[in-house]
Structure formats: structure tokens, C-alpha cells
């Protein structure tokens, strides 16, 4: 019996040994299921590097948990598409991603904190950062980024609210730049691989971010006062740019009003006590500025509207290429208007309903110009700023690709407007437009005269330049301060691009969360009247029964006056000729390095495919009927205007390429002819 047992056990053991050998350790396969948000997350990019802080010692407070003094603030890094940074260089309305590094990571010692004894003491510290989950590129859309940022010294930055999503006075701006000493910052292109090529993700290391530009101004709080714009209005053709600008200003008679100041009260007060100065004499808080002040104070924001330094329009030329000459306005800079591009940069964006967003109706932008007439002889204008709103709307057919912007220029303009770019002759899309302002002074430095060559010093090294000059771009440069009529010197933080000082949340008309803004910039409520829908700019169509433009086949956009022929002495009738519309196939891609996605030039067909694919499902969809809106939606007695209705429904529709798109029952404006050729 025992022998039998032994036999059994030996048999068992030998067989088990064989089975064990067969079951070698195997590694599970990687799940490739990513449809419908499935199990496997997409590979992403990771950015690693160091943030260098150069500036005053940080503001600290007593941490109740540790009993130690620790910095109040933190570093805030903003990720932008390299080719679409915030205005004026780009049109990004929000950062693509956001990273913060707690201040305590920079300043671990209590001695690093600012003290009353030496409030201006400077310090240089650094902290590492790891930035996860950065979206990789895709075929035709590489992921090239730039990093801007600031050290939020007072800890009042909050990405979710328009009132708090900006760097403010006292913060230290900067970014990942090629040369931290350069007067005009050139941001580092941080390129991530395509997702298809890097299934295991991509890690970019060694990214150096420098924060060293003090920011002086606060977010301006303002309202827009304007007349509506006619959807068929034409651009001025007057050669004198001052006159031309006056004509443009007259089109809409638009002004940006800062919140009125009331200098009464105690400026040393904080919080809601500070708002007392905005109260009426009977102590009531009825004015919008008072209510806004109270609301912001409740939100922890010190809205000291009476501070003439922090709350002011600072107007300056935009000198993107650093040649000392103002850059031309993107729309109005071309002859014959020749209007320069200045900050504050103003952007109007057509408001969309949730259905329009769901249907993929393209966004529409307009770019007003700060009136030169008002600012010609003043460095600072406050409290009002006159702006000129040109009747040119840019339709963004691709949500993110800046190369896919097709200007709509109404009929009756000259040939050079239509033939400058891939352009459509269309009425302007009607509707309400939200107002966006880039307050450039906070990001600006003022260049002085250049004297001698130099080699930029290493951080903390002695300045090789004499006096107050600094070594900028290998030239000793006097970095002069802006001396506005406030009587205060202003340094700027061009890196931080203090922007988005927009009461209206970029044109979202629905209730609740603005889907366009994403998680980083949400709406706080309640609205104030001038900050809500009634405060939007209106483009109306006084003749809604007649749709004028290339798409409807009317003759108004087949011919136009050629200014060159007029200049040659021809009459208007003689100078009227057929318009040669550029198309994607004629677009000078190679000649315009700014066009297309940086680093990857596309063929015209590729360009068309990329730009038109997002809206192709809208081709052939009927135009929405004309409707009427009131200036104040809640007040039926307020002035009314003709605008096209917004779609009321969408239908999931299979497309020829096998995808399913949401097709609306109508479109609120005609789609670009370059993408919907059948409609030409």
C-alpha cells in the first residue's frame, strides 16, 4: 500500500513539474481598445524640467498645519500650441493644459519669505516640474507647444473664473524661452511625437522655464458700448489712414469703458470695505461697479477699481518682430488702410448655442483695432478706449488649426481684399459677439536705444552693460519703463500675456458651463448686465431676405473695383473686373512659413482636406431663417435687430467616410465656398 502511495505521489509530482514548465510566466498583452473611452488610455506626453524664479521674495503666510511660514502662491504654467499662443501672436482663448508647482517647492525655508525689513529683496530659486498627460500629435497635426507662465505671488489665480484666471499685479511672468535675456521673448518649441509613432508616449526633458518679469496691472473690468454692425458693411477705401480709421470707428461707434472710479473712501481698506467707495451717497450699492466690486470681494478678489495704476488701459504698439515699428493690424494693416496693431488687442467672437457647438458650426472672429485717433498723442488712455470694428469676419473652419481661417468680406469691397488670401465674399455672420481684450501692457517691455554689443550674463552674474542697460540679444539695451500719464512707471510681462479680460465668456449663450472654455475657464454667476448677453456686440442684417455673397450665385461678388486700375486713372466702371478668388490650391504655402502647421508644410489638397473636413457635413444645409433679437433679451422693449436664427436641432447622420456627424437643421450663415464648392 505504501509502495502504491509512493508511486502515485511520484507520478503526480512529475506531471505537475511538466505542467509547471508548460506554464511559463507570460506577460499580458496590452489592450488596444480605445473606442468609446474604453479600457486603454491613449499614450500621452510628459514634459519635465525646471522652473527658475528670479524676483522678489515671495509673500508668505502662516500655515496652520505646520506652524511655519510658507509661500502663499505657486508657479502657474500654461501650455499653448506653438502656432496658436494667446493674442496678439495667436488666437488661443484658453491654455491647452495647466500645471502648478506649489510655492513651497521653490521656497522651502522660512528665510526665503518676504519680510517687512527688506520688502524688495530679490531671490533666485528653482523647482523641478513634471507635466503629465500632454496630448501627443496626430497625422498632420504635430504636437508642438510653447510654455508661458507666472508665479502667482498673491495666490489669487484661479483658472475657472474670468475674474481670476489672469496674472495680476505682483505676479512674476515668464515662460520657456530661447533666451531669457532677450527683450523680445522667443518661446521654445517643445515638440512631442505623434501618437501613432509613439505608442508608449513621449517624454520631453530638460525644459527650462524662467519666471522673472514683474507684472504690474490687474485685470481690467469694462463694458462695451457700441452700435450694431451691418452684415453687409464695407471697408473704407480712403487712402488717408486716419480718415479711414475714422470711417471704421463710425461704423460701430464702439468704446471700451472701464468701470467708473470713485476715489472716495479709504484706499487702505480691503475686501468689501473697499467697495464702500463705490456705494451711493445713501450707502446703497446699486451701481453695477459697486455690485461687481462686492461680488468680487466675496470671491476673494481685491477689486480696487480706484487704483489708477492697476486699473487702466495702457495702449502700446505691438512689435512682434522687434524691429521697433508697430506691426500692422492683421486685417486692417494692409493697404490702403494701413492701421497698426496695438494693445489692448480686442477680439470679438460670435456667440454660439450648445446646438451649434454640437453641430460643429465654425467659430467666427472679428478683430477690432484700438483707435489711433485717440491714442496718437497719449501713452495711456482711460477710462474709455475707442475701438474700430472692421466688417471682416474670420471663419475658423478647423477648431484649432490657425491656418484654417477664412475671412468673410461683404460685397462691394475692392478686389485686393478678396484676392489677398483664401477669402469668401459673404455677408458677415450675424449674431451676438462676445468681447475679448488682451491687455498687452502687462506683457510688454519697452525697448530703448541700443548702444553696444555684449554677451548675456549668466544668471546672477554681473551685468556686462553700463548703467541701467541690460544685455538683450547681444546688445546693451536700455530697458526703459513706460511712463504713462498715471505718473507711475510700468514694467510689463510680455511672457505672461495677461489676457482674457473679457466680461463675456467668449460668446457662449447657454446657461451653465461654457463647453468651449473647457474645464479651465468656467463661468461664475450671476451675470452683470454689461458683462452678460446684453453687453455683447451685435452684427445684424438689415436686409435678411437677400443673402448676398458668392455662395448664392448673385453677381455682387463676382466683380469688384480694382484700386490699382483706379490709381491708373480708370473710372470705377472701367476698373471693375472679375475677382480672382484664391483657393487652397493657390495658397502660397511655401512662401508663407507662418501658414500651415509649423514644421510640416502641407500640399494644397492636404490643406483643403484638413481645413474643410470639420465643416463638410454642413455643406448644403439650408440657411436658417431670419429672426429678431433684442439688445436686452430680457427686455422686449429694448432695440431689436435682425439676425439669423440658430439651429434648433441636430441629427446624427452617417457620412460617406463611415463616420457619423451631427447635422443641424439649418446653418446660421453660409459655409465657405472654398469648402463647399457646389454652392458656388
Amino acid at each position: 500500500m505504501r509502495r502504491m502511495h509512493t508511486l502515485h505521489v511520484l507520478t503526480l509530482l512529475s506531471l505537475l513539474l511538466g505542467a509547471a514548465l508548460l506554464s511559463a510566466c507570460t506577460d499580458p498583452p496590452v489592450d488596444s481598445f480605445r473606442s468609446e473611452g474604453g479600457a486603454a488610455p491613449d499614450p500621452t506626453g510628459v514634459m519635465e524640467g525646471t522652473i527658475l524664479y528670479i524676483g522678489p521674495k515671495p509673500t508668505c503666510h502662516l500655515d496652520a498645519a505646520t506652524g511655519r511660514r510658507i509661500p502663499v502662491g505657486r508657479a502657474v504654467l500654461l501650455l499653448f500650441a506653438f502656432n496658436n499662443p494667446p493674442p496678439p501672436e495667436g488666437a488661443a482663448t484658453t491654455a491647452l493644459n495647466l500645471l502648478t508647482v506649489p510655492g513651497v517647492n521653490f521656497f522651502p525655508a522660512e528665510s526665503d519669505c518676504r519680510s517687512a525689513d527688506s520688502p524688495d529683496a530679490q531671490i533666485m530659486r528653482s523647482a523641478p516640474f513634471t507635466w503629465p498627460e500632454i496630448e501627443l500629435g496626430h497625422a498632420g497635426h504635430p504636437a508642438d507647444y510653447q510654455v508661458r507662465g507666472f508665479f502667482d505671488d498673491d495666490g489669487d489665480f484661479n483658472p475657472f473664473f474670468s475674474a481670476t484666471n489672469l496674472p495680476t499685479a505682483g505676479d512674476i511672468g515668464g515662460g520657456a524661452v530661447v533666451d531669457a535675456q532677450a527683450a523680445i521673448p522667443h518661446f521654445v518649441r517643445i515638440a512631442f511625437a505623434n501618437q501613432e509613432d509613439s505608442p508608449n508616449g513621449d517624454v520631453q526633458t530638460g525644459v527650462a522655464v524662467t519666471l522673472g518679469q514683474p507684472i504690474t496691472t490687474e485685470r481690467p473690468i469694462f463694458s462695451l458700448v457700441s452700435d450694431p454692425l451691418d452684415a453687409e458693411a464695407t471697408l473704407p477705401t480712403t487712402a488717408d489712414k486716419i480718415v479711414a480709421e475714422g470711417e471704421l470707428v463710425a461704423l460701430t461707434h464702439s468704446h471700451l469703458h472701464l468701470m467708473p472710479r470713485n476715489t472716495a473712501g479709504d484706499p487702505t481698506e480691503t475686501g468689501s470695505a473697499r467697495c464702500v467707495m463705490l456705494q451711493e451717497t445713501d450707502g446703497s450699492c446699486t451701481s453695477e461697479s459697486c455690485q461687481m466690486c462686492m461680488a468680487m470681494a466675496a470671491g476673494g478678489i481685491q477689486a480696487a477699481f480706484d487704483d489708477v495704476v492697476k486699473y487702466a488701459w495702457y495702449v502700446r504698439n505691438i512689435d512682434g518682430n522687434g524691429d521697433g515699428v508697430a506691426d500692422p493690424h492683421p486685417i486692417l494693416g494692409a493697404p490702403p488702410i494701413n492701421i497698426p496693431w496695438q494693445t489692448p488687442a480686442v477680439i470679438l467672437q460670435r456667440a454660439q448655442s450648445r446646438i451649434e457647438l454640437e453641430a460643429g458650426i465654425p467659430a467666427v472672429l472679428m478683430l477690432p483695432a484700438v483707435s489711433q485717433v485717440e491714442t496718437l498723442f497719449s501713452k495711456v488712455a482711460y477710462p474709455d478706449l475707442t475701438i474700430a470694428i472692421p466688417p471682416v469676419a474670420v471663419v475658423q473652419t478647423h477648431p484649432t488649426d490657425v491656418s484654417c481661417r477664412i475671412p468673410y468680406i461683404p460685397p462691394n469691397n475692392t478686389t485686393n481684399f478678396y484676392e489677398a488670401l483664401t477669402t469668401d465674399c459673404q455677408e458677415l455672420p450675424t449674431g451676438r459677439y462676445a468681447v475679448n481684450v488682451l491687455h498687452g501692457i502687462a506683457g510688454g517691455v519697452v525697448l530703448g536705444n541700443r548702444t553696444q554689443s555684449c554677451v548675456p550674463p549668466a544668471p546672477m552674474a554681473a551685468n556686462p552693460c553700463p548703467g541701467t542697460e541690460s544685455c538683450v540679444d547681444n546688445v546693451c539695451t536700455l530697458i526703459s519703463v513706460l511712463s504713462p500719464d498715471t505718473g507711475h512707471d510700468i514694467f510689463g510681462g510680455l511672457y505672461s500675456s495677461q489676457a482674457w479680460s473679457i466680461p463675456n465668456e467668449l460668446g457662449f449663450m447657454g446657461d451653465g458651463v461654457n463647453p468651449r472654455l473647457g474645464p479651465l475657464q468656467q463661468i461664475d454667476s450671476p451675470y452683470w448686465s454689461s458683462q452678460g448677453i446684453p453687453g455683447m456686440f451685435i452684427v445684424q442684417d438689415p436686409n435678411p431676405g437677400a443673402t448676398v455673397g458668392r455662395s448664392d450665385g448673385r453677381g455682387g461678388c463676382q466683380q469688384a473695383v480694382d484700386p490699382a486700375l483706379i490709381a491708373a486713372g480708370m473710372t470705377v466702371a472701367e476698373a471693375t473686373r472679375d475677382i480672382v478668388y484664391p483657393d487652397f490650391s493657390e495658397f502660397p504655402i511655401a512662401a508663407d512659413p507662418a501658414h500651415g502647421v509649423a514644421g510640416v508644410d502641407r500640399t494644397p489638397d492636404q490643406e483643403r482636406e484638413v481645413c474643410c473636413a470639420p465643416i463638410r457635413h454642413l455643406c448644403g444645409v439650408p440657411l436658417c431663417a431670419a429672426g429678431t433679437i433684442h439688445r436686452d433679451p430680457a427686455d422686449a422693449t429694448s432695440p431689436s435687430f435682425n439676425v439669423r436664427d440658430t439651429p434648433t436641432s441636430v441629427t446624427a447622420t452617417p457620412m460617406a467616410d463611415g463616420t457619423t456627424r451631427m447635422v443641424p437643421n439649418c446653418v446660421p450663415f453660409l459655409m465657405p465656398a472654398a469648402c463647399c464648392p457646389a454652392a458656388i
Partner: protein
């Protein structure tokens, strides 16, 4: 691989179908049939043939009562030696009627001794007669029977009284009859002793009177009718359930729809994850997201952490209150330890309180006592290892069973490659995050001590140190937890009721499997303890009709310490219940149950009534109608969660809060009310025939207050001031808003039904099939327009076969129609939102082939899971289930 496997399987099917069988696949049915046949033969006086049949029944499925019946048959035939042998074997199992049987044994031994004495006397008499035949005429002989002592008779009287009490407590007619017979036996022995004493006195007088001189002789005639041994259990192999009514009863009498999964089913299926056995049950919704994570729902409303089915192990709740689910692979036992699994469909809060919402699963483990030692070791694909060793035995009245095991299996798939650069690997020392889905080392022990016939003690303890991979809730997905899970349980059972105390403890470190490099690792330390005290009184009485009354009181104390919550918490729950099972007439049973629960987070008591009628038109049929309610209370997670959840934007988090925490700071969030269900069910079962069993049921459920995550509530600017909301250095992030848990306004009207059958067409072959239909209609919902997370159609079918040549196999086929899930996802534009996910229908085939050698001492098995490698998901975020093969070798010492 697939073709090879299927070809082999087909050949085996054909071969085995024509092989002479020795036993049915469903051994209980076969054993029952042999038992009945044997009893009939015995009654007809064919003792040897009857005993042979009974022996066969015992061989198929050992049961001590079969030994009793054999012993009784021999005893009544006067074959005392054989009877004693079987009684001895019966007593070795330490049966509850030990005293009674020992009385029988003593009586039998007396008779054997008396017979030997009689024989000796007879021989002496014969010799004397032969010697005296020549001189005198023979004297008449007189039978002499052994006389019981006073102590023996008193013992019989005591045993009779105790068995009578036990019979009343358990409503057992056989025990009742046995007690009566024992009482009669005591009376008979007493009378006989008195008569014998009188006769002796008379004989002495006569002898004295006659002057003596006559020797006595004894008769060898069997004392027919003189030793009235009680009849054994009438139907030893009758199917029984204990979960439906908290006492043993036929499933035909149970007020709920019930399915038993037997040890044989478990053996022939061969899964290493216990939860997978439930997949074959009609109406059960099984959702495997990894080899470790199998969530079970009943009749709808399944979810990632399934909270509406109460899982018991030997009556001990293993429901993890903190999360509201049951994790199967952290339990310290293996499938080899299971005697049967009772699956009860329908609400049962009336007896079990909270969380017995739509069903109960009660796992009955094997009893200590039998002398047996087993070991199994297996290796398989995907680094599967399965080892298990158990030994059980008895020392006098102390039964013991000791178990140890090891189990490991890799994930089906990895969410991300080990080479992915963008994922953190900082805590590899804590988890094997890359490949292991489950790994557990466990041991448990159980002692049973029978103090006397009325009082039994049961002591259990177990420990499982494990790692498991599972899906969390909301945005928490693909988690790993590692740590020990332990329990102890002590129980005392008497004929008047029971008292049970148990402790469950779970400690684990957890984290996400794939964390973005530089992102939040999501590590959490989890320590959870529960202590339960349960007392129950059981009493049978006759008041107009027969009643079986159970009155009980429960107390549950639970604690949690977990970083994901706002603070450590503890809760005390109480419950009181009663249930009366009244036999109105022989064919009609009425069941009334009622329970009141007190939960610390609920403003008032929760009442759970249940009523049922069971009509038995014949012995093997039952028509059942029941109406009841049940509820599920909020978990610790749903109450006290306070966790900043990462989003794809590194500096943005979402604060997830339990309802109790959220309600303090946000008036938009309400405290949770319990989920409620009102259920009505009608069922029919026909077990009349030994060759098939059919059961069908239809039900209607009205479900309200289901708990789900809310949409995110964005913070307003003022929320960031003075209310504790704000940027934190720990997360380096801003909370975008908060989400919590809510009672949905939706009302769900669910209709469905199950139809199942099990057929035993030929010896050794067992076929089952079932179909379940479930459809929910939604009204008053702002969140969803339909409710289809449960497949509308589910079909299960399978066969099992045990051949005479030692080759066994089992095949299970499962089909579930498509599902639509509503899950919360992070959207780069809209933040956290709900998104629908559609899962196509799927099928899965599991199979096992086994081969037994050396009188079944050695057995090899090959277990296939999803053998056609039909890749499918059972949850949108779950892993894709793939083929798994496991080879096993088992040895019975």
C-alpha cells in the same frame, strides 16, 4: 488551438456517450435513486439486495444517514453484527442523535451477548439434554432475553425527550417519529424488565415450588418487534436550502426562487474564481472585468461595484460595507472547500436586512469531520497557479478541517504597456502593477464541537493575504489593492436557536494601475472591520395550524479608516426580525416575514415585509407567489468620500464627496435615502421526476432611489472663499467642482423571468439550460432614458458527464445580449459627464476534462475558460476576456 480543443471535446463526447456508466453526472440524483431503491427492497424483506443498493448510494455520495438505514435494516433482520458495524460507522460521523444510537448499539450488543449466552446455554442444555436424555424426559425450554438496566432506560428516555425537542425545532417529522419510537422502546424495555423480573420471581417461585432441577434454555429467535430502532431519514438525498428561510427546507417549500450549485458542479467546472460558478444561474448577472474582479448582480442593476447582492459564507456576511460590494478573491477559501452555493433570487431584506436587495448568495463550506486529506495543484496559461490542500477529521466530538491555498492569475490584458514612458511606476514595490490580477495565499481552519445532543459549537478563522485588480467607481478605474483579509466566527447552535458572532477585517493598500507620470498615484490605505452579533430563537408550535417561528436580532458594528474618506468612521446597525412559516394545510404553506432595521444615517427605522404562499399540488411540485420589499443603505464610500480626483489637466481636480460630507457644504446635494425595491414574483417548480427538473418564474420589480454619481457641480467664486475649497499644495491643483452621490429621481419598473431545466437522460449525463429575460422601463429620470446595463436576454446551457472509465467532462455555454452602460467620464470640454457605452452581446464557453486514476485517488484535469477565445468585455472599462487554460492534478490521500 480552438479546433484542436473542440475536436478532442467532440470525440470525448461520442466516446463517453457509449461508455457504460457507473454513476450519473448529478450524483445526488443518482444516489437518491439508489437509496430509494434500496429502501424499497429492504421493506420488501430483500435485505441483501436492499443493502447493496444502499451501499451503492453511499458510494456515489457518502451520507451518514445511509449507514444508519443499512444498520437498521440489518438490525431488524436480526443481523446484529452487521448492524453494529454500520452503526459504528454511523457514529464515527458524530451524528446529532449519537446518544439515541448508542442506546441502540448497547441494546444490540446486549442482544448479541444474550444471543451468545443463549447459544452457550442452549449448547450446554443440549449437552445436558444429551447427557440426560437417557435418563429423563426433556424439560420445555424458555427464551431468555437480555434485560436493560435502569440507567440505559433512563438514557433512552432522556434521548427521546431531547430528540422530541429537536424535532419540534426543526419541524422534522422523522425526528419526531424517532423520538416517539425511542420513547416506546424505553417503555418496552421497562415493561420487559418488569415482566422479566416478575417472571424470574415467578420462575423462582415455581422452581422453588417445583423443587427446581430444570435448566434454562434461550431462544435464538430474532426479537422481531422487540427492538424498535427508529426509521432513518426518509429522503437522505433530498435537496435542501437554508438561506431562503434561515432553516433547512426543501427548495420546493422556499419562499424564494432558489438554485443550488453543488460541490460536484464546482468540481466538474473547475474554475478557480468562485464567483464564476454563479454564471450558470438563471437571472444572475455576471460581470468579469479582470480575473480577480467578478461582480454579481441579480435581475438587473449591475454596476462596477455591485452592491445589491448579499453574499454570505456559512451565514457570515462578507459584504464589504465600505465599498458596497463583495470581492471574491480575498476570501480565505478555495472552490474545493465549498459544499454548495445557494443562490436566492429576489429581495430578502425581511430576513437579512440591508443590502439583500435583489438576491443572496450563501456559500456553504464543507463540514469538519470526515477523515479526508486532499491536495490539488495546477498550472496554466497566463501564469496561473492554483494550489490547495485540505485535511479534515474528528477527535471524539471535535471535528476539524484545515485548509491552505495559493492562487495566482495574470490580468487578461494590461491597460498600458510596461514600456510606456508616460506612466508612473513609482510604486512597483507595493504592487506588481504590470501583470498580476490576483494573487492570494490563504488558510482557514474550522472546529466543530458537539457538547451534547442539543448544543454544538462552531469556530472558524481564516486569513487571506492577497493582491487583486478591480474596477473602482466613477473616475477611479483599474485599481490594485494588496493586503490581508481575515475573519473569525464563533457560533453556538441549539435546538432552541442559535447565537453567532463574527469579525471580518480587511486591510489593504490600493492605487491605480496606470498613473500618468507625474500624476497622482492615488494611493490609499484601507482598514475596515466589522463585528456582527446575531441571535435567533426558533420554535415550532401548533396554534390552529403548525408554525415554525423564527425571531432574531442582529447587531453590526463597522469601522473604516481610509484616506479617501473625510475621517475615520464607525457605525452601529441594529435589526429585529421575525418569520413565521405556517402550514395551513398539507399542501399550502404561508410565510410571513418582517424586519425592522435601524441605520445611523437614516432618520427612521426601515421596514421590510415579505409574504409568500407556497402551494404543493404534489410532493414534487410547488407553485410559489411572493411579495416583498428590500433596501440598500449607503456605503461608507457613498457617505463619507472626500477625495480630490485627478483629471487629465494636471492642475485641475474634481472633489468627489460622499453625501454626508457634500450635504454639509453644498445645499444642492442631498443626503442619501436607501435604495428601495418592491418585488412580486410567481414561480413554479416541478421536481417530480428523477430525470428532469423544471423551474420557471416571472417577476415584477419596482425600484426607486437608486444611488448614482451626480453631475459635477462647478464651484462658484464665492465657494473658494472661506468654505475650505481651494488650491492645495498636496494635489497641486484647483478643484473644479464637486460631485457626490444622489438618489436618482428615476423609477424603474422591471419585468422579467427565468426558465430553467436540468435533465438526466442517461446514466452519467447531466444537461442543464436556462433562459432569463429582464427589461427595465424608466420613468421620471433626468439622467437616463433607458436602463440596459443588464442584458435583456441571457442563456446558459451545459452538460456534465462522468464516465465509468474515469473520464469526466463538463461544458458550460453562456450568452448575454447587448448592454448599454451609462458611465462617468472626463471630457476635455465639458469636464466630468455621463457617457453611454454600448457593449455588444457575447458568448462564452467554459469546459473541463478530468481523468481519474487509482480508484479516484489521483485525478488530472484540464480547465478551459472562454475556450473559443471569444474576446469580449463585460463592462466598457473591463479587460477583454480571453482564453485561459489550467491543468490540475489532484490527489486524495
Amino acid at each position: 488551438m480552438k479546433r484542436w480543443f473542440l475536436s478532442i471535446l467532440g470525440l470525448l463526447l461520442v466516446a463517453c456517450a457509449f461508455a457504460p456508466g457507473i454513476a450519473r453526472a448529478d450524483v445526488r440524483t443518482e444516489a437518491r435513486r439508489a437509496f430509494r431503491q434500496g429502501m424499497e427492497l429492504v421493506q420488501q424483506g430483500h435485505i441483501d439486495e436492499g443493502v447493496a443498493s444502499l451501499e451503492r448510494a453511499y458510494e456515489i455520495l457518502p451520507h451518514p444517514n445511509v449507514l444508519y438505514n443499512i444498520a437498521r435494516a440489518y438490525a431488524e433482520a436480526g443481523r446484529y453484527d452487521e448492524a453494529l458495524e454500520y452503526f459504528d460507522r454511523y457514529l464515527s460521523a458524530d451524528p446529532p442523535d449519537r446518544e439515541e444510537v448508542e442506546g441502540f448499539v448497547q441494546a444490540l450488543q446486549d442482544r448479541v451477548a444474550a444471543r451468545a449466552q443463549a447459544t452457550q446455554t442452549a449448547e450446554q442444555a443440549a449437552a445436558q439434554e444429551a447427557a440426560t436424555r437417557t435418563t429423563t424426559t426433556a424439560a420445555p425450554t424458555e427464551a431468555v432475553e437480555p434485560m436493560a438496566t435502569d440507567e440505559e432506560i433512563r438514557a433512552l428516555d432522556d434521548a427521546s425527550t431531547q430528540i422530541a425537542a429537536l424535532a419540534e425545532a426543526t419541524m422534522s417529522d422523522s425526528l419526531r417519529a424517532r423520538a416517539a419510537r425511542l420513547h416506546d422502546l424505553a417503555d418496552q424495555l421497562r415493561e420487559r424488565r418488569d415482566a422479566a423480573a416478575a417472571a424470574t420471581a415467578a420462575a423462582a417461585a415455581t422452581q422453588s415450588h417445583a423443587g427446581g432441577g430444570h435448566g434454562q434454555t434461550t431462544s435464538a429467535t430474532p426479537p422481531e418487534g422487540g427492538l424498535d430502532i427508529g426509521a432513518g431519514e426518509g429522503d437522505v438525498y433530498a435537496e435542501q436550502v437554508v438561506s431562503s428561510s434561515r432553516f433547512a427546507q426543501s427548495p420546493l417549500d422556499a419562499p424564494n426562487s432558489t438554485t443550488n450549485i453543488t460541490a460536484q458542479d464546482i468540481h466538474l467546472i473547475g474554475h478557480t474564481n468562485v464567483a464564476e460558478y454563479i454564471r450558470r444561474v438563471a437571472g444572475a448577472d455576471i460581470m468579469a472585468t479582470s480575473p480577480a474582479d467578478v461582480q454579481i448582480g441579480m435581475r438587473g442593476f449591475n454596476q462596477r461595484l455591485s452592491p445589491r447582492v448579499l453574499v454570505l459564507v456559512d451565514g457570515r456576511s462578507v459584504y464589504l460595507d465600505t465599498l458596497g460590494t463583495t470581492f471574491w478573491t480575498i476570501q480565505p477559501f478555495g472552490p474545493e472547500d465549498i459544499e454548495r452555493i445557494e443562490v436566492i433570487r429576489g429581495p430578502a431584506s425581511a430576513l437579512y436586512g440591508a443590502d439583500a436587495f435583489s438576491g443572496i448568495i450563501n456559500i456553504i463550506t464543507k463540514d469538519p469531520g470526515p477523515q479526508r486529506t486532499d491536495a490539488i495543484l495546477g498550472f496554466g496559461s497566463a501564469s496561473q497557479v492554483h494550489g490547495h490542500v485540505s485535511t479534515s477529521g474528528r477527535v471524539d466530538r471535535l471535528g476539524y478541517r484545515l485548509v491552505a491555498g495559493y492562487d495566482r492569475a495574470n490580468r487578461f490584458t494590461r491597460e498600458v504597456s510596461a514600456e510606456r514612458e508616460s506612466v508612473a511606476g513609482d510604486y512597483e514595490q507595493l504592487f506588481d502593477r504590470g501583470s498580476v490580477a490576483r494573487e492570494s495565499v490563504y488558510a482557514n481552519g474550522r472546529l466543530q464541537y458537539r457538547l451534547n445532543q442539543n448544543v454544538n459549537f462552531d469556530l472558524q478563522a481564516g486569513l487571506n493575504d492577497n493582491q487583486q485588480n478591480f474596477q473602482g467607481t466613477g473616475p477611479l478605474r483599474d485599481l490594485i489593492a494588496r493586503g490581508p483579509n481575515a475573519f473569525t466566527m464563533g457560533a453556538m447552535r441549539t435546538n432552541w436557536g442559535s447565537l453567532r458572532v463574527f469579525w471580518n477585517g480587511t486591510k489593504a493598500n490600493s492605487g491605480a494601475q496606470a498613473v500618468p507620470r507625474g500624476g497622482d498615484l492615488g494611493l490609499g490605505r484601507f482598514v475596515s472591520n466589522t463585528v456582527d452579533v446575531e441571535g435567533e430563537l426558533a420554535h415550532e408550535f401548533h396554534l390552529l395550524v403548525d408554525h415554525n417561528l423564527h425571531i432574531g436580532i442582529d447587531y453590526r458594528y463597522k469601522t473604516i479608516n481610509w484616506e479617501f474618506l473625510d475621517a475615520p468612521h464607525q457605525e452601529n446597525h441594529y435589526g429585529v426580525y421575525f418569520q413565521d412559516t405556517a402550514r395551513i394545510v398539507e399542501q399550502l404553506i404561508a410565510v410571513a416575514s418582517f424586519r425592522v432595521d435601524f441605520h445611523p444615517l437614516l432618520p427612521g427605522p426601515v421596514f421590510s415585509p415579505r409574504g409568500a404562499l407556497v402551494f404543493r399540488p404534489s410532493e414534487g411540485q410547488a407553485i410559489r407567489a411572493s411579495v416583498g420589499t428590500a433596501f440598500r443603505t449607503q456605503t461608507f464610500l457613498e457617505s463619507y468620500l472626500d477625495l480630490n480626483v485627478a483629471t487629465p489637466v494636471a492642475a485641475v481636480t474634481v472633489l468627489a464627496q460622499g453625501s454626508e460630507v457634500a450635504a454639509l457644504s453644498n445645499p444642492d446635494f442631498q443626503k442619501l435615502s436607501p435604495e428601495n425595491i418592491l418585488s412580486a414574483e410567481v414561480g413554479y417548480r416541478n421536481a417530480e421526476n428523477d430525470y428532469f427538473d423544471v423551474e420557471g418564474s416571472i417577476y415584477y420589480n419596482h425600484v426607486t432611489n437608486t444611488v448614482s454619481l451626480t453631475q459635477i457641480q462647478p464651484y462658484t467664486l464665492s465657494d473658494f472663499q472661506g468654505s475650505g475649497v481651494g488650491y492645495t499644495n498636496a494635489t497641486a491643483g484647483f478643484p473644479l467642482g464637486s460631485l457626490s452621490f444622489q438618489n436618482e429621481s428615476a423609477q424603474f419598473d422591471v419585468v422579467g423571468g427565468e426558465l430553467s431545466t436540468r435533465i438526466y437522460p442517461i446514466t452519467g449525463l447531466d444537461i442543464y439550460a436556462n433562459y432569463a429575460y429582464n427589461r427595465a422601463f424608466v420613468s421620471n429620470s433626468t439622467l437616463r432614458t433607458s436602463e440596459e446595463r443588464t442584458s435583456r436576454h441571457k442563456v446558459n446551457a451545459g452538460i456534465q458527464y462522468r464516465s465509468s472509465i474515469g473520464l469526466d467532462f463538463g461544458v458550460d455555454v453562456h450568452f448575454a445580449s447587448h448592454q448599454v452602460w451609462l458611465e462617468q467620464v472626463f471630457d476635455a470640454v465639458e469636464g466630468v459627464k455621463f457617457q453611454e457605452f454600448r457593449l455588444p452581446g457575447y458568448y462564452m464557453i467554459n469546459a473541463r476534462i478530468g481523468y481519474r486514476l487509482f480508484d479516484d485517488q489521483l485525478e488530472f484535469g484540464l480547465v478551459g475558460y472562454n475556450i473559443t477565445d471569444n474576446r469580449h468585455r463585460e463592462h466598457p472599462f473591463g479587460q477583454e476576456l480571453a482564453l485561459r487554460v489550467l491543468g490540475t492534478a489532484a490527489y486524495h490521500f
